[in-house]
C-alpha cells in the first residue's frame, strides 16, 4: 500500500533530525574547551588578594585588615557530640545550635557551610585546642576590615558581604564575598579589592578533587588590592569630631590650592569597627533604625540647609561684578530694611549702625541685612525684567559650585537648590514677581539651599580669588600616580579677581571688629563670615520657630590660604556662638598643630545641644500624639 509509506517517511525523518541534532549537540558543539570551564565537573577555587589599606594624607593608617575566624561545619561528618559542652564553648544556647545545624544540613550535608561566623581571635585561640574533639567542625580564616582609629566613618564607608541580588547583577562577585557598600570603600572598590585569582580543578563523581584541570592552563593569579592615600588629615578629622560631640551638623575643610578635602565631619556618626563581622547585623539595625540622630546620614554631603549670611559675601561679589555697587557704595540701615508697596514690609537687622553710612567692608563685617538687600535688589533690577536679573544672579552663584553635585569622589551627594526665573514662574503662575518678592535670598534665607561641602567649596573659591578645584578625597594610590586630571583642573568663577580684594578685607574685619572678633587668633589672619539661619518647622499644620542654625565659613591665612572651612551646627543659635569658635579652633589646629585657645576649646568640648534637640523632639511627638486623638 502506498499510503503506508507516510508513517515510514515520518519515522525516517525523525531519526535523521534527531541524530543531526545530537551530532550538533555532542560532536560539533564540543570543540570549545571554555564550555568545560563552566562544567559542573570542574571546580573553581578562588584565591582572594588582601584588600588595599587606606591611609590619611600624613600616612596614618585608617583602614587595615584583620583575620576573622569562621566555624565551619560539614554535617555529614559530624559525629555524636557533647552538645552542652560544645554550646558552652561557643557561647550559644542549645536551640541556636540545633537551628544552625538544621540550616547547614538543609543547604547541603556534604559541603561545608558557616556554622558560626566571625569568631574573635581570642575565641579562636581557645577553640583551636578543643576542636579535635568535634568531628565535622573546623575553623576557616577570613580577612576582615579593621579601623585602628574610630574616626571618619562617613568618609571611609564600610564593606558588606555580597548578597544574592548583587551577585546576580555583577558576575564578578559571589555571595559572601566582600564589597564596598558606601564611602571610599564603594567609590574605589575595584582598586581596593584587586582581583581574585582562580584555579580550575577536576572533580570526580563524588565531587572529590582529583587534580588540576588541563594542567592549569586556564588558571589566573590574584592581583593585589591597591593601597590608597586620602586627602583627609586624620588629626584634624578627629579633633573636629571631638568638637562636634553633642551637636548635630557638619564640618568640611578643604585645601583651597588643590581642592583636597582635609576633613569631612558629620555628627552624630558611628564607630566603623561596629560595622564589621558578627556585630554588623546588630548595629546596622540600630544605626539605620535611629531616625532621631540618623548616624548613617552624612550631613556634610547630604543635608541641604539655608546658607544664611555667608551668602552675603557672594552678593557683595556679584554686586561688584555687575557694577551695581563699588567698594565705597554706602547704604543706611534703620534697624532693618523696608520694601514692598509703600514700604510696608520690613526685614529686621542686627548691625546696630543706626543712621550712619555703611560701606561694603563694614556691611560684611557687621553682617548688615539692609546693605545686602539693597545690593540684591540692584542686581535683579539691573536687567529689564526680574527674570533676566534672576537668571544672571543664578549663573553667578552656580559658578561657585552651588546647586551642583560638584563631582567629588564619594558616592553620595545632594544638589542643593539655587532658584532661577523658571523656579519663581512656577511659584507665581502670574509671572508678575519682582526682586522684592525674593528678597530673603539676599541674606541666604529664601528658597536657596546648600550643603556644607558646597559652602566649604565656595569659601575655597573666595580664598583662591576666583577659582576652585573639584573637592576630592583621593591623594595618591601607593605605587601608582593618579592619572585622573579632573581633580587638577581649575574651575573659574564668573567674578573677576580684582573684585575679591574688598570682600576679603571685609571678611578679615569679621575677626578684627565684626561678629567673630571674640575668637580671633594672635598669629593667624583669618577671613570669615558668620551666619544665623532661622529655622521654621511645620508640625501638623502649625508653624514652629526652632532654634536658629549656627553657621560659619572661613579661610586662613589671609595671604596664601591653607584651609577653607565651613561649619554648620543645627540649632546652634547665632553663628558667632558655636560655629565661629569651632571654625577658629579647627584652623588653629590645622595650621599650628597646637591649640592655644584652651578656654574656647574646653567650652566647645563641653557644649551640648541635646536639651534643645530633646525639646524639639517633644514638640514633634506631642503634636503627632494629639493629632492621633
Amino acid at each position: 500500500m502506498k499510503r503506508g509509506y507516510l508513517l515510514t517517511f515520518f519515522i525516517l525523518l525523525t531519526a535523521t533530525i534527531y541524530i543531526a541534532k545530537l551530532f550538533h549537540l555532542q560532536v560539533s558543539g564540543m570543540d570549545d574547551d571554555r564550555n568545560l570551564l563552566q562544567s559542573s565537573t570542574v571546580k573553581k577555587i578562588y584565591t582572594y588578594p588582601e584588600r588595599g589599606y587606606i591611609y590619611d594624607r600624613n600616612g596614618t593608617l585608617l583602614v587595615s585588615n584583620r583575620l576573622s575566624y569562621n566555624l565551619m561545619i560539614v554535617p555529614r561528618e559530624v559525629k555524636p557530640l557533647d552538645t552542652l559542652e560544645f554550646c558552652k564553648l561557643l557561647k550559644i544556647d542549645k536551640n541556636s545550635f540545633l537551628r544552625r545545624y538544621r540550616k547547614a544540613k538543609k543547604w547541603s550535608s556534604r559541603l561545608p557551610s558557616v556554622f558560626l561566623p566571625h569568631l574573635s581571635k581570642e575565641d579562636f585561640a581557645y577553640l583551636q585546642e578543643k576542636m579535635y574533639q568535634y568531628e565535622g567542625f573546623y575553623i576557616e580564616k577570613k580577612a576582615q576590615r579593621y579601623y585602628p582609629i574610630a574616626s571618619a566613618a562617613n568618609v571611609l564607608g564600610y564593606v558588606n558581604e555580597v548578597n544574592d541580588e548583587t551577585a546576580k547583577k555583577n558576575p564578578y562577585y559571589h555571595p559572601g564575598e566582600l564589597i564596598g557598600t558606601t564611602g571610599i570603600e564603594k567609590q574605589y572598590e575595584k582598586l581596593l579589592r584587586g582581583s581574585k585569582g582562580v584555579k580550575y580543578m577536576q572533580r570526580d563523581r563524588f565531587n572529590k578533587i582529583i587534580g588540576s584541570f588541563k594542567n592549569s592552563m586556564y588558571d589566573t593569579l590574584p592581583v593585589l588590592g591597591q593601597d590608597l592615600q586620602l586627602t583627609i588629615d586624620s588629626e584634624l578629622q578627629q579633633y573636629g569630631e571631638a568638637l562636634m560631640q553633642g551637636k548635630r551638623g557638619g564640618i568640611v575643610a578643604i585645601e583651597p590650592s588643590s581642592g583636597e578635602v582635609l576633613s569631612l565631619i558629620t555628627m552624630p556618626s558611628y564607630d566603623p569597627n561596629l560595622m564589621i563581622g558578627r556585630l554588623r547585623s546588630k548595629y546596622s539595625v540600630q544605626f539605620f533604625g535611629d531616625t532621631i540622630n540618623k548616624p548613617m546620614y552624612d550631613r556634610s554631603l547630604l543635608a541641604q540647609y539655608a546658607p544664611g549670611s555667608p551668602l552675603k559675601i557672594i552678593h557683595g561679589l556679584v554686586g561688584l561684578q555687575e557694577k551695581v555697587i563699588h567698594p565705597n557704595t554706602s547704604f543706611y540701615c534703620y534697624h532693618g530694611y523696608r520694601y514692598g508697596a509703600r514700604e510696608k514690609e520690613f526685614m529686621g537687622c542686627h548691625c546696630d549702625i543706626y543712621n550712619a553710612p555703611i560701606n561694603l567692608r563694614k556691611g560684611i563685617a557687621k553682617s548688615c541685612n539692609t546693605y545686602f538687600s539693597n545690593v540684591y535688589k540692584r542686581v535683579i533690577e539691573k536687567y529689564p525684567t526680574a527674570s533676566e536679573g534672576m537668571n544672571a544672579w543664578n549663573k553667578h552663584l552656580r559658578s561657585f559650585g552651588l546647586g551642583d553635585y560638584l563631582g567629588y569622589d564619594l558616592p553620595l551627594g545632594s544638589k542643593g537648590l539655587v532658584p532661577d526665573a523658571a523656579f519663581y514662574d512656577r511659584w507665581y503662575p502670574s509671572k508678575r514677581w519682582r526682586a522684592t518678592y525674593t528678597i530673603s535670598n539676599a541674606i541666604g534665607q529664601g528658597q536657596i539651599l546648600t550643603t556644607p561641602i558646597q559652602l566649604a567649596n565656595m569659601t575655597a573659591a573666595i580664598a583662591n580669588r576666583g577659582f576652585y578645584f573639584t573637592p576630592h578625597f583621593l591623594k595618591s594610590k601607593y605605587g601608582n600616580s593618579i592619572s585622573d586630571t579632573i581633580f587638577n583642573k581649575a574651575h573659574q568663577t564668573s567674578i573677576d579677581k580684582k573684585n575679591f580684594g574688598p570682600i576679603i578685607e571685609g571678611m578679615h574685619d569679621v575677626f578684627r571688629t565684626g561678629t567673630a572678633k571674640h575668637v580671633r587668633l594672635k598669629n593667624i589672619e583669618i577671613c570669615g563670615k558668620t551666619g544665623t539661619a532661622e529655622n521654621f518647622v511645620r508640625v501638623h499644620g502649625t508653624k514652629h520657630q526652632f532654634e536658629d542654625h549656627s553657621i560659619f565659613v572661613a579661610f586662613a591665612p589671609k595671604k596664601d590660604p591653607k584651609i577653607a572651612i565651613a561649619v554648620y551646627i543645627e540649632n546652634g543659635g547665632f553663628g558667632s556662638t558655636i560655629a565661629a569658635p569651632i571654625a577658629s579652633l579647627m584652623i588653629e589646629k590645622y595650621i599650628t598643630h597646637n591649640v592655644a585657645n584652651t578656654w574656647w576649646e574646653n567650652k566647645m568640648f563641653t557644649t551640648s545641644l541635646e536639651n534643645i534637640y530633646n525639646k524639639q523632639l517633644k514638640i514633634r511627638q506631642s503634636k503627632s500624639e494629639s493629632s492621633k486623638k
Binding site: I11, T14, L22, Q26, M30
Partner: protein
Amino acid sequence: MDLPLILLYLTLVLFGWMNIYAASISEEQTLILDFSTKYGKQLLWIGLSFVLILGILFIEARTYEKFASIIYIASLFSLFCLFIFGKKINGATSWYSFGSFSLQPSEFAKAATALALAKLLSDKQYDLKLIKNQIKTFIIIFLPAVFITLQPDPGSGLVYAAFFFVLYRENLPVYYIAIGLVAIVLFVLTLAFGLQIVLTCSWALLLLFILYLQFYRKISLKFHWLKIVTLFATISAFIFSVDYVYNHIFEQRHRDRFNILLGKNTDTRGVGYNTNQSVLTIKSGGFSGKGYLQGDRTQGHFVPEQHTDYIFSTVGEEWGFVGSAFVILIFTMFVLRILKLAERQKTTFSRVYGYGIASIFFFHYLINIGMVIGLFPTIGIPLPFFSYGGSGLWGFTVLLFIFIKLDANRSYEL
C-alpha cells in the same frame, strides 16, 4: 515468532535497565537485587514481564480478536473507576494502589484501544469514507484519550493522536491529515509570531490561492462564494481560538514550556531548568561519552526525574553521540520492523493492530526524546522500555507481544 523483533525488544529492555541503574545508583554500593532501590525494582518488573510474555503467547491468537470489544470496555471501565478509587501521584490520579505497589491502567488502555480499533476496521463492510463510520472510529479513539487527559495526564492522552496514522493507512480521506497538519503549523506559527502577523499572512496566502484559481486554472469563483467565505472564516476563527486558548485557558506552566522552546523565555533556573539541565547533560557526553557509570552529571543528580522521563539524557552523557544515535537507530529499526510485519499480515485485524502499535511506539519516542534533547515542549510521557516503571514496561510489553503472537499465527489464518 519474529526473532529480529524479539532481539530488538531484548536489546532495548536490557540497555534501558543499565541506564536506570546508572541514573539511580547511590553512593552506598548495594546488591543488584535490592528491591528497595529503583534498579532492583525495575529488574523485578523485567523478570515478571517475561512471565507476562509467556501468558500472552500461551493464549490463542483468535482470542484477542474475539474479546477485543470486551477488553476495550473493561479498560474504559478501569479508567473511569480511577476517578473514584484512584491514587494521586505527582498530581495526576492515574494509579490504583495495592499496598506498596501501584498500577497505571492508562498504560494498558493503549493495547485495548488498538485491539478495538483493529476489530472495528477488520469488518469488510466497514468503509472509512462514510462520515458515520468516521465518527464511530473517532469515538473509540477519543474516549480513553479524554479520560486520561482528565486525570490529568495530557501527555498520555496526546499519544492517542498516533492512531490517525492507522486511519490514514486504512483509507481515511486525506484531507483529515491535511487539516491536521495545517492546524499544527498554524498553532506553532501563531505562538511563535503572534496573532496579527499569522492572520495577515494566511489571508494573503488565501487571496493568492484564489487569484491563482481564478486566472490560471480559469475556475470561476462566482459559484463558490460560500466555500471561500467558509475557508476564510474557519482559518481566522482557528487562529483566534489558538490565541485565546493559549492566553486564557492554558496555565502559566504550559505557556512557559512553549516559550522556552520558542526561545521567548531564557530562564534556566526556574521553568526551563529541566530542559536546560538535560540538554547540558547530553552535550557534556561528547562523541563517545564519559563511560558507563562515569557520568558526573548523572551521578550528581543534576537532571530531575532522570530515571523516568529524562532517562535518555543518561544515555547521552555516558555513551555519548555513539550511544544516543544507537538508541535512535534501534528504535527506528524496531518500529520499521513492526510496520514491515504489519504489511505482510493476511488479516485486516492483525495489520491494523500492528500499524497501531507501531504508531504508538513511534509517538512515544518522538515526543520523549524530542523533549529531552530540547526540540519538543515538556510533555511527560515515558520512553518505551527505558523509563523506570512497572506499568509502563508491562503495558508496552503486552502491546508488543500480542502482535508477535498475531504475527506468529498468520500462517494459520486464511
